[in-house]
C-alpha cells in the first residue's frame, strides 16, 4: 500500500497537503477543522503587527460560466494580535501533534524585530517558519512582503537574521512579481534558508465594472492592484517552481503553490520537485473537504504507477524540461482525425485555417482533395446548397447525408499531413477526447538540436544576449 507520508526539510508530514497562508488558516478553530478533514499541514495566516483591512477584498474572473477561474485579493496579513495567533498555534499543536503548523511571519525589516517574532513563534510550538517575502499589495508599500522578495539582497539579509535565531526549518516564500525568480531563491539559499515556497500571488487587476467604470474589488469607488491566484495561475507557478528546482544554486526543498485544487495538480508540482503543496483558492471556493479526493486520487494514481511514496516520483519530470535549443528538431508529429469519433463541429478546421497553418480541409466528400477552398468558400457553398427547405423528418445525423461514419463525410475534416507542422492546436480545440491524436512520423532522420546545428556550424549563432545575472 502506498503512503502519502513524507518529510519536508526535516519536518515529518502525514501527507504533502498543506493549507497556504491565507484566509483558510486565519485562526485555530479553522485549522483544527481542516486537520479533521485530512489536511496534513497549515501555514498560518501571516503573523505580524496587526493591520487594518479594507472592505471589499476579493474579486474574480469567471470563464464560460465557471466561477473563479482566477481570484484576486487585496487583503493584508493577519488582523489579529500576535499573541492571540501564537496562543492558538500552541493550542493546535497540543491537540494535533502529528500535523504540521508553519508560522508565516512578516515584520518590519529590522534584525531585532525578526529575532523577536522568530523566538515567539517557535516558543508557541511552530514546526517551521515561512517568511512572507511575497505579499504584493499593501504590505509592500510599507517595505515588507514583495518589497523584500523583489530585491535579492534584502531577501538574503533577512533570511540571515532569521537563521541566526531559528531552531526550526526556515522556508522563504517567493514572489512571482520579478523577472527572474531564481535570483531571490539563490539569495535565500546562500543565506542559509532550509526550504522555499512558490509562488505567492501575482500582481493583477481582475476586472472593471462596465456600468460604473470602477475596478474590482471595489473599495469606495477605487481599487488597488491585488494578488492573483486560482486555477489560472497554475502554469505560471509550475514554470517558476521548475526554474528554481532546475537551478543547483537555488534548489531547496520546495513547497509548491499556485492554482492547486486537485490530485492531478498536486502530482504535477511534485513531479517538478515540490515536497509539499499548498492550497488556498480551491479551499476558499469549495471548503476543506476537497482534500479527501486530493489524497484518494493521488494514492490511486500512485498505485497505478507503482509509486510507494511521493518521494518515488518527486522531480521525475524535471529533467524533461530543458532549453528550447536542446529540443529535437527532427521529431515530427502530425494530426490524425479519427473519423469514427468526429462529431462534425469543424472547430479544428477553423482553428487550423485562422490560427495555425491552413492544412485541415473539408474535402472528404469531394471527388478529389482540394486544398485551395478557404473557409469563406466552404461557408458560401453551404449557404447556397441550402436555399430550399430541408426535409421535415430529418435523421439526426445531418441533412439526410449518409456515409460510413455517424457524422456526414462532408463534415469530417481531413489533415494534409505533408503540410501539418504538428502544432497540436486542432487536438486542443477538439471537444472529443482522443478524436484528434498527434502521431509520430518517422522521417528516418537522426535527432538533432539547434545547439548541435550551431556547434556544427550549420547555422550562424546570433549575438549572445544571455542573462547577466546567471
Amino acid at each position: 500500500m502506498p503512503t502519502l507520508e513524507t518529510t519536508f526539510a526535516g519536518i515529518p508530514c502525514i501527507n504533502p497537503f498543506w493549507l497556504a497562508s491565507a484566509p483558510p488558516t486565519n485562526c485555530g478553530e479553522q485549522v483544527m477543522r481542516a486537520f479533521d478533514e485530512g489536511w496534513g499541514g497549515a501555514v498560518w495566516k501571516t503573523i505580524g503587527e496587526p493591520i487594518t483591512n479594507v472592505s471589499s477584498r476579493y474579486s474574480s474572473i469567471d470563464w464560460n460560466g465557471q466561477r473563479m477561474m482566477g481570484l484576486n485579493n487585496i487583503e493584508l496579513i493577519s488582523d489579529r494580535p500576535i499573541e492571540v495567533n501564537l496562543r492558538e498555534i500552541a493550542e493546535v499543536k497540543r491537540r494535533y501533534p502529528k500535523h504540521v503548523v508553519i508560522a508565516s511571519l512578516m515584520v518590519e525589516s529590522k534584525r531585532h524585530a525578526w529575532h523577536e517574532i522568530v523566538q515567539r513563534a517557535e516558543d508557541a510550538g511552530a514546526d517551521g517558519l515561512e517568511l512572507n517575502f511575497g505579499c504584493p499589495h499593501g504590505m509592500s508599500e510599507r517595505g515588507m512582503g514583495s518589497a523584500v522578495g523583489q530585491v535579492p539582497e534584502y531577501c538574503g539579509q533577512i533570511t540571515e537574521w532569521v537563521k541566526e535565531k531559528a531552531r526550526t526549518p526556515v522556508i522563504i516564500k517567493l514572489t512571482p512579481n520579478i523577472s527572474d525568480i531564481r535570483m531571490p531563491a539563490r539569495a535565500a539559499k546562500q543565506a542559509g534558508a532550509d526550504a522555499l515556497s512558490a509562488i505567492n500571488t501575482i500582481n493583477s487587476i481582475t476586472s472593471i465594472d462596465l456600468d460604473t467604470l470602477e475596478p474590482r474589488p471595489n473599495v469606495d469607488g477605487k481599487s488597488s492592484h491585488g494578488g492573483y491566484c486560482g486555477p489560472a495561475v497554475k502554469p505560471i507557478a509550475l514554470n517558476m517552481v521548475q526554474q528554481v528546482m532546475s537551478d543547483p544554486q537555488a534548489a531547496l526543498p520546495m513547497s509548491g503553490i499556485g492554482g492547486i485544487g486537485s490530485w492531478q495538480d498536486a502530482a504535477e508540482f511534485i513531479l517538478l520537485g515540490a515536497g509539499t503543496v499548498q492550497v488556498c483558492t480551491a479551499v476558499m471556493h469549495y471548503g476543506y473537504r476537497i482534500v479527501e479526493d486530493m489524497a484518494d486520487g493521488l494514492l490511486a494514481w500512485m498505485r497505478k504507477k507503482g509509486y510507494e511514496s511521493p518521494d518515488d516520483f518527486r522531480g521525475l519530470s524535471l529533467p524533461r524540461v530543458t532549453d528550447w535549443k536542446y529540443l529535437n528538431l527532427n521529431y515530427k508529429i502530425v494530426a490524425r482525425i479519427h473519423a469514427d469519433k468526429c462529431i462534425g463541429c469543424e472547430l479544428c478546421y477553423t482553428a487550423c485555417w485562422d490560427g495555425a497553418h491552413q492544412c485541415i480541409h473539408l474535402d472528404r466528400a469531394l471527388p478529389e482533395p482540394n486544398t485551395s477552398r478557404t473557409p469563406d468558400m466552404v461557408a458560401a457553398e453551404s449557404r447556397s446548397r441550402i436555399s430550399t427547405t430541408p426535409i421535415a423528418k430529418l435523421d439526426l445525423n445531418g441533412a439526410g447525408e449518409t456515409g460510413p461514419y455517424l457524422t456526414p463525410l462532408s463534415r469530417i475534416p481531413r489533415v494534409d499531413e505533408h503540410e501539418c507542422v504538428g502544432c497540436n492546436l486542432c487536438s486542443l480545440v477538439c471537444p472529443v477526447p482522443n478524436c484528434i491524436t498527434m502521431e509520430r512520423v518517422d522521417e528516418g532522420l537522426v535527432p538533432e538540436t539547434w545547439e548541435e546545428r550551431v556547434s556544427a556550424g550549420a547555422v550562424t549563432q546570433g549575438s549572445r544576449h544571455s542573462n547577466p545575472n546567471l
Binding site: N64, G65, I343, G344, C345, E346, L347, Y349, T350, L362, P375, V378, A379, S382, R383, I386, S387, T388, T389, P390, A392, K393, L394, L396, N397, G398, A399, L406, T407, R411, P431, V432
Partner: protein
Amino acid sequence: MSESTNFYEQAPDAPEIAASFPDLHPPFNKTAALTEANRCLYCFDAPCTAACPTHIDVPRFIKKIASENLEGSARTILDANILGASCARACPVDVLCEGACVMHRYNAQPIAIARLQRFAMDALHESGAPLPFSPGTDTGKSVALIGGGPASLACAAELRRRGIGADIFDARPLPGGLNTYGIAEYKLPLAESLREIDMLSQLGVHFHFNVTVDAKKLAELEASHDAVFLGLGLGAIHKLGIAGEELTGVTNALDYIADYKSGKITSAPERVAIIGAGNTAIDAANAAARLGASEVHMVYRRGPEQMSAFAYEYEHAKQEGVKFLWHTKPVGIGGTDKVEVLHLVKLESSSDGSLVPKSGEDFQLPVDLVILAIGQATHSEFLLENKARLERGRVLIDRATGQTSNPKYFAGGDCTNGGREVVDAVADGKRAGIGIAAWLEGQHANA
C-alpha cells in the same frame, strides 16, 4: 386600414385558457440561459444553421447570449427570421436545428436552441426596445400580400426593409393566420403571436382585415400594386363524407383550436374523438384533454408507424392521456339532436395493400364531440384560374425567389408546400420578399 397598431392588446382575455395551457417548455431564467449558451461548441458552418429553413446563425446568437449581448442576439435572430419569437416556441426543433446539433454525437444532449432563442426574444420584448431594423428608403413600389400568416408577414418585412410598400389582406380580424389561431396554446399563446406582429409592424406594414379576396378583388389588387404575394395557406379541413357529419358536435381541428385559443371555447365535453393522426390532430386531442374531456380517442386508419405526427408529439399525446384506436375508420356518426356515437370499423390490409374493413369488427364509440383532422384542402384553384400554374392544388414557385409562372405573382407557405411548419412559411416569405425586390429592380432597370 391600420398601420402599426397594438394587436397585443386586442388579444382576447381568457384566464381559463391561460391556466389550462401553461408553457410546455418553460422559459430559461438568465442563469440557465447562460449555462446552456456556454455549452454550445460554436461549430463552424454549423449544422443547426443549415437545418433551420431560415438559416438563423445559431452559434452566433447563442454566443451573444453567453456574452450577455442580448440585444445583438435578438438582432441576429430577427435578421434571418422576423418571426424568431414564435418560431422559438412553435418549431419542431427535434427535427430541425436541435436535431442537427453535433452534441447528439458528443454527450447526447443537444443544445436547447429553441429555449435560448426564446430567451433572447423575450429579453428584447421585455426591454421595450424597438425592432432593430428600419424601413428602407421609399421606392414608391408596393406589393399586395394575400393572407396575413407567417409567409406574408416575413415577405412584408423583407419588402419594407427594402423600401417597398406592403399591403396585407386577411379574412380574419387579427393578423398572423395559423401562427395566431392554429398553434397549440401551450406552445405559442395567441397573444405572443400578436406581440411579435406588433414589433414587425414598426416597419410600416399596412393591414387590411376582414377582407375576403375573390377573383375580382385579386384583379383589382394586381392592377393597383407592382406585385402580388400569395400567402393563402390552405383551405378547409376535408370532410369524411359519411352520414351524420352535419350533426351538432362535429367540428374540425382548425376551428376547434382557433376557438379555444380565442377563448370562445373554455371547456370540453366528457368524451371526444379526433379523426386523423397528424400534428394538428394531436394538438386538438391534447386541447380536448386539457379543456376537461375525460376520454379522448384518436382514430386513425393506419398504425403508429404511419402516422404523420412527429414522434415526440405522439409521446406528448400519450402523456396527456389520449388513447389511440389504430387501424380504425369511422363509417358513420349517430345521434338525434347532436352527436352521440361514432360508428367505427377495424381495418386490415388486403392482398393489394389497400385497407379493407375486417368483417364483423365494427363497433361503436360513445362520443359528445367529434373533431376532424384529416388534412386541409387547397383553395387556390378557383382564385388563380389563369393567373399562375398549380400542381395538385399547390401554387408552383421557383424555390429560390418564390416567383410563380406569372412573373408578377409570388407565393410561399402552405399554399405552395401543402402544409408545413411556420418556419418553412417564414423562409418562403423571406425568399419571396428578396425575390420580389430583385424582380422589381430588374423591371425598373429594363424600363
